[in-house]
């Protein structure tokens, strides 16, 4: 008989279905990074001078920095001069056009990925901005959204059409001085999504961005900025895939969210960048800075992430709870198999009075995967009556993987109430055998157990993404019975 633990590990290892490459004509900058490259990117995008200057300042700051070493991840040093910082398909490089003018190969790519962009095949109830390598291919449902005053477009377009909004908010939540990869992103970001929901408007559909890395030896550095004005609501989804390659590729994004008084932003990610092969060759380095500012009173920002891809994940979607009564949430499922490494978690910074935060983190490690939760809950002196609840669960599958937890709690106000719960469990052979004995295959049993483990997080995902997440973990969601 086969060894059950190996069988289990094998099952979690699903074949990567999005590893294909699209052969399109591209134009790209030469590899390497210097003032000229940054000026080139900025010129390609016909950016105003203030933005070019901002990029250059960020670049100069970045050259004074060292890559962070505190995370529990290991990788060979990255040669930043080998990376190509700008790659765009020729048909869209000259600026956004209607989808009719876009190379059909690109549209086919998104269809293959399950994200049709053409009018009649679009996903019902979801507006999509599709980002291919360095540029946005197209954004759907824009007219319908514009009727409500909602701006949803690529970052490049926002810079042209809404420069005042971009200038007012860009870099206010994640300044370029924040960290090494945020500085790099600020210097070279090529596109991304921009969204503004005006006062009192509830966005009638899910907004989403689908990120696709296609070109070899390129990096992807997108920048997303979402602003929910007073009393507005928006739910935003993000999906990502990349071709299979033996070399590692860098993805260093920055996402900034701003919620004004009474506004709510729900940001969900299903991250499925190419994770590398079974020996740990290749895969995306996903070094991402995501942060939301609950600026106004009674505002709320909720992060939900399902991280299944990438060779290395380094990301900490965080909330600054500045407004009184504001709420921050972080729900996370991170799966590492083969030789994947994830160091992920959140920061909840309580500044306003009666601020509340919830952290639910579920780490699943299989194969040789290493999974770390790293979190900071900080209650500053001004945060009267702050509340935090943290729950941090790890599930181990097999005996060669690892789960690690690094919670940091800093409390500077005696009225605070901070709770932290943590568990570590292992899918046991006994549990699998019990399921087998009831006629349930090992695959289904693992799925059932993993899915049960992640239930609290999946519940937070919008329906369309819950389905995607379910498929990604190769599981069927538990029925509503009981």
């Amino acid at each position: 008989m086969t060894d059950t633990s190996e069988t289990i590990a094998g099952l979690v290892r699903q074949a990567y279905k999005y590893g294909f490459y699209t052969d399109v004509e591209t134009e790209s900058a030469p590899p390497g990074l210097n003032d000229d490259i940054i000026r080139l990117i900025s010129a390609k995008k016909r950016e105003p001078a203030w933005l070019t200057e901002w990029r250059l300042k960020a670049y100069r700051y970045w050259t004074s920095m060292q890559p962070p070493t505190w995370a529990k991840i290991t990788h060979a040093p990255i040669n930043f001069q080998e990376i190509t910082y700008y790659v765009a398909p020729k048909t869209v490089a000259a600026g956004p056009k209607s989808l009719d003018q876009v190379d059909p190969k690109l549209l086919e790519t998104y269809e293959k990925l399950g994200v049709p962009l053409r009018e009649r095949e679009r996903l019902a109830g979801v507006a999509v901005d599709a980002v291919f390598d360095s540029v946005s291919v197209g954004t759907t449902f824009r007219k319908q959204l514009a009727a409500k005053g909602i701006i949803f477009c690529s970052m490049s377009e926002a810079v042209q059409e809404h420069p005042e909004l971009v200038r007012r908010y860009l870099g206010t939540v994640v300044p370029f001085t924040d960290n090494f990869y945020a500085a790099l992103n600020s210097a070279v970001f090529s596109d991304g999504s921009f969204c503004y929901v005006p006062k009192g408007v509830r966005c009638p559909m899910e907004l989403s961005t689908y990120f696709r890395i296609n070109a070899a030896k390129s990096g992807q550095f997108e920048r997303t900025l979402i602003i929910a004005d007073e009393g507005a609501y928006v739910s935003y989804l993000e999906g990502c895939t990349a071709p299979m390659r033996d070399e590692n590729q860098l993805h260093a994004a920055v996402v900034e969210l701003i919620a004004l008084e009474g506004a709510e932003i729900k940001y969900s990610t299903v991250q499925n960048w190419y994770p590398g092969d079974e020996q740990g060759r290749g895969g995306i380095y996903n070094f991402v800075t995501k942060r939301g500012l609950c600026k106004g009173r009674n505002s709320k920002i909720s992060w939900t992430q399902v991280e299944t891809g990438s060779a290395i994940t380094w990301k900490y979607p965080s909330c600054i709870l500045q407004g009184d009564n504001s709420i921050g949430e972080f729900y996370s499922v991170a799966l590492t198999t083969n030789y994947q490494q994830a160091d992920t978690g959140t920061k909840m910074l309580h500044i306003g009075r009666n601020t509340r935060s919830t952290i639910i983190s579920k780490g699943i490690s299989a194969g040789h995967g290493q999974n770390s939760y790293r979190g900071l809950v900080k209650i500053v002196a001004s945060a009267v009556n702050a509340r935090n609840f943290t729950r941090c669960d790890s599930l181990l599958i097999g005996d060669k993987c690892g789960a690690h937890t690094f919670p940091h709690i800093e409390v500077h106000n005696n009225s605070a109430c901070v709770e932290h719960e943590a568990t570590t469990s292992k899918i046991g052979e006994d549990q699998i055998f019990y399921c087998n004995q009831r006629g349930i295959s090992t695959q289904d049993a693992v799925n059932m157990i993993v899915n049960g483990f992640c239930k609290e997080v999946f519940r937070e995902l919008p329906m369309e993404f819950a389905v995607e997440a379910q498929r990604l973990l190769g599981v069927s969601l538990e029925g509503s019975v009981g």
């Binding site: 060894d3 469990s425 052979e429 055998f433 087998n436 006629g439 029925g479």
Partner: protein, 256 residues
């Protein structure tokens, strides 16, 4: 004569080089209930584990036929789908997996094998209603995760409840009586009795004859040192209750 449900022929087996079963033979026909009794370490649970296909047991020789098919070649889930059910001595907890959902998936696996349509959540609840009553099961338990936070007695009752739902061809009850108080024992026994049919069979594995006061077997076998040393009818169980296993153990040890 009808074909037996289970035929064990001269089964020799063990774990990691340690021989535990030394030539066990046993034939069970439809409609029969057999009891296997024996002291601790005699190989009772090993026999149950091998029948169910648990990992880590090695069959060195012998044969097991289940409805005429070579059982040992089948995966554990295939055995289950063909109607072999093991009521576990120590049912495991599966946190996060809802009991009702779990059992519906299990039932649908069996139904798929039998060529019956799968049941959806509503149909399933209808289907199990009577069985919940039969086992006097607190239906709150079904809303919890599998066996999580169940008392010992509730776990055992849940096993028999699952048996009632899955309607196996052969049910192997591994020490189902252990750890049960008298009321729970009666409920479990009542459940087991009511599931007896002319076309199925039961194999009760037990240390004590306590269970056999409620579930009356047609045949009783004494397993000592991995061998069936004596077979008889129900009276044998009563006899054992008085004399214990000592004489068999001594006889066994006296052998070269």
């Amino acid at each position: 004569m009808r074909r037996p449900i289970l035929e064990i022929k001269n089964l020799n087996a063990g774990v990691e080089g340690k021989q535990i079963l030394n030539g066990v033979s046993l034939t069970i026909h439809p409609g029969e209930a057999h009891a296997i009794m024996g002291p601790n370490g005699s190989g009772k649970s090993t026999l149950a584990a091998i029948l169910a296909g648990r990992n880590g047991y090695i069959v060195t020789s012998g044969e097991v036929l289940f409805d005429g098919t070579n059982l040992l070649e089948l995966s554990p889930e295939e055995r289950a789908r063909r109607g072999l059910f093991l009521a576990f001595q120590y049912p495991v907890e599966i946190p996060g997996v809802n009991s009702t959902y779990f059992l519906r998936v299990a039932l649908n696996e069996v139904r798929k094998y039998r060529g019956l349509p799968e049941l959806d959540a509503m149909e399933f609840l209808e289907f199990v209603k009577d069985k919940v009553k039969l086992l006097e099961l607190n239906d709150q338990l079904l809303k919890r995760s599998v066996n999580e936070g169940f008392s010992g007695g509730e776990k055992k009752r849940n096993e028999i409840f699952q048996m009632a739902v899955l309607e196996p061809r052969l049910a192997v009850l591994d020490e189902t009586d252990s750890g049960l108080d008298i009321d729970a024992l009666r409920v479990v026994a009542n459940g087991v009795n009511s599931l007896r049919r002319p076309d199925n069979a039961q194999l009760l594995i037990t240390h004590y004859q306590r269970l056999l006061e409620y579930v009356v077997p047609d045949h009783v076998h004494v397993l000592v040192g991995g061998r069936i040393v004596l077979s008889g009818d129900r009276k044998l169980a009563l006899e054992l209750e008085e004399t214990g296993y000592d004489r068999f153990v001594k006889a066994q040890q006296a052998q070269p």
